[in-house]
């Protein structure tokens, strides 16, 4: 992969990801409304929300929190840039973790009880999903002998066939990463099951807009990982990727929030059973 295509791929990601992510969020809200017997907002509502937030006053508790939020945003982009630029998946995952750490620190720094609880839960979520994410990249390496997303996407055979359990495990933790019920324990998009606004309680205006856009970027990044499982057949890959997203919307609307103990316990159990068994199968083949 030469530099020009890498730069191009990254640029496309940077521009297209928020558009795709925002549209998906819009579709999500319409589907959710329909499932609840409502008509729902316009498709572009998520964009209106973010643009509105951009026009609002940005109230702060301290001078530092802005910096952390910006760092969170930048590193979500870096993570996506690494993956869509054909780089090392493991590094991309680490960059995403770094981004998550910045978000948690931002909430911590405000010394707000609500944000604090959100931050702790976000941390627990990271502990819950991180092993599965790492095992996913490990599984991909074991089948393709490379951590580079560029190599993985060019793999001739369907990764899914050799990583079926890892794929299922990844789907499971995707619910946490998409911030969907039952695992939206640190910050929910639904006011009715949130303690104030969890992690984001103390952010407003542009900072909140950044967090929302970063979430779109993150979603696209994760869907990109889903795509890699089926990259050999692009048509299937796109279908499965979209289906995955709507499956998560479906799960979201059919579940109430669980306790963090359940999130942590079930995610680790799933990782242990599905992720580990797949890795062991691959190791002994």
């Amino acid at each position: 992969m030469n530099i020009a295509t890498t730069v191009l791929a990254i640029l496309i990601y940077l521009i297209a990801a928020p558009l795709v992510g925002g549209l998906l969020a819009g579709v999500d809200r319409i589907i959710s409304a329909r499932m609840q017997g409502r008509y729902g907002p316009p498709l572009l509502q998520p964009f209106y929300d973010v643009l509105k937030l951009w026009q609002k006053e940005n109230i702060l508790v301290n001078r530092q929190q802005k910096v952390y939020v910006l760092s969170f945003f930048v590193f979500v982009l870096v993570a996506g840039g690494i993956m869509f630029g054909g780089g090392d998946l493991l590094l991309a995952v680490f960059a995403l973790t770094l981004a998550g750490v910045f978000l948690v620190i931002a909430a911590y720094s405000t010394f707000s009880p609500y944000a604090h609880i959100g931050a702790e839960r976000e941390m627990l979520q990271m502990v819950a999903y991180e092993p599965m994410v790492i095992l996913t990249t490990v599984g991909m390496y074991m089948t393709t002998k490379s951590f580079s997303s560029f190599d993985i996407v060019q793999e001739e055979s369907l990764l899914f066939l050799r990583l079926p359990f890892i794929f299922l495990g990844f789907l499971f933790i995707l619910t946490i990463k998409f911030r969907k019920s039952p695992f939206d324990i640190s910050m929910s998009h639904h006011a009715h099951q949130e303690i104030v606004r969890g992690l984001t309680t103390e952010f407003s205006g542009r900072d909140l807009a950044l967090i929302e856009v970063a979430h779109w970027y993150e979603n696209v990044f994760l869907l990109g990982l889903v795509y890699l499982f089926f990259a050999a057949v692009p048509a299937v890959a796109v279908t499965v990727t979209l289906a995955t997203y709507f499956l998560e919307v479906f799960i979201d609307n059919n579940n109430a929030r669980l306790k963090w103990q359940h999130a942590l316990g079930s995610a680790w159990l799933v990782t242990l059973v599905l992720g580990v068994s797949n890795v062991i199968l691959l190791a002994f083949r």
Binding site: Y39, P41, Y48, D49, L51, K52, E57, N58
Partner: protein, 145 residues
């Protein structure tokens, strides 16, 4: 042009309502009225909200709370007093512990009449609030330039 009228987020505070108006506020979210069609969300956090919906009269105990919530909202912001009690103190006006309508503590932009206020009236009040929101945004822009 601002995007404020396209995505009004509410924070709802029950000052000392009999819960009649509160139920009607929540009714606006239900499938029959579905205010999310207009991008309205009940957000539950003053720092995220654009419109402060208060039901019930303000009493001596929660005066500071109403004031605090109002202060913690980001500009531009609008206050909608929903129901007779929120507007004027209503039938509780003369109680020893009641200070009166919401406007005794914070500036109110839209008054919604009714006991209890009907959902249509509440939606209408919020929509009027959007106009005020837009006006405040334009004013701020002018003041800045």
């Amino acid at each position: 042009m601002s995007f404020l009228p396209k995505s009004p987020w509410l924070v709802h505070y029950d000052a000392s309502s009999c819960n009649g108006c509160d139920i009607e506020v929540l009714a606006c979210l239900t499938p029959i009225y579905d205010v999310e069609r207009f991008g309205v969300l009940n957000i539950g956090n003053p720092k995220h909200a654009d419109i402060f919906v208060v039901t019930g009269s303000v009493n001596e105990q929660n005066k500071t709370v109403v004031k605090n919530i109002y202060d913690q909202m980001a500009e531009p912001k609008v206050v909608v007093a929903v129901g007779a009690c929120a507007s004027s103190g209503g039938i509780f006006r003369e109680c020893y512990n009641v200070s009166g309508g919401v406007d005794t503590v914070i500036p109110v932009d839209v008054y919604v009449p009714g006991c209890a206020a009907r959902p249509e009236a509440i939606i209408d009040g919020v929509v009027q609030g959007l106009g005020v929101l837009e006006a405040k945004y334009q004013e701020k822009g002018k003041a800045a330039s």
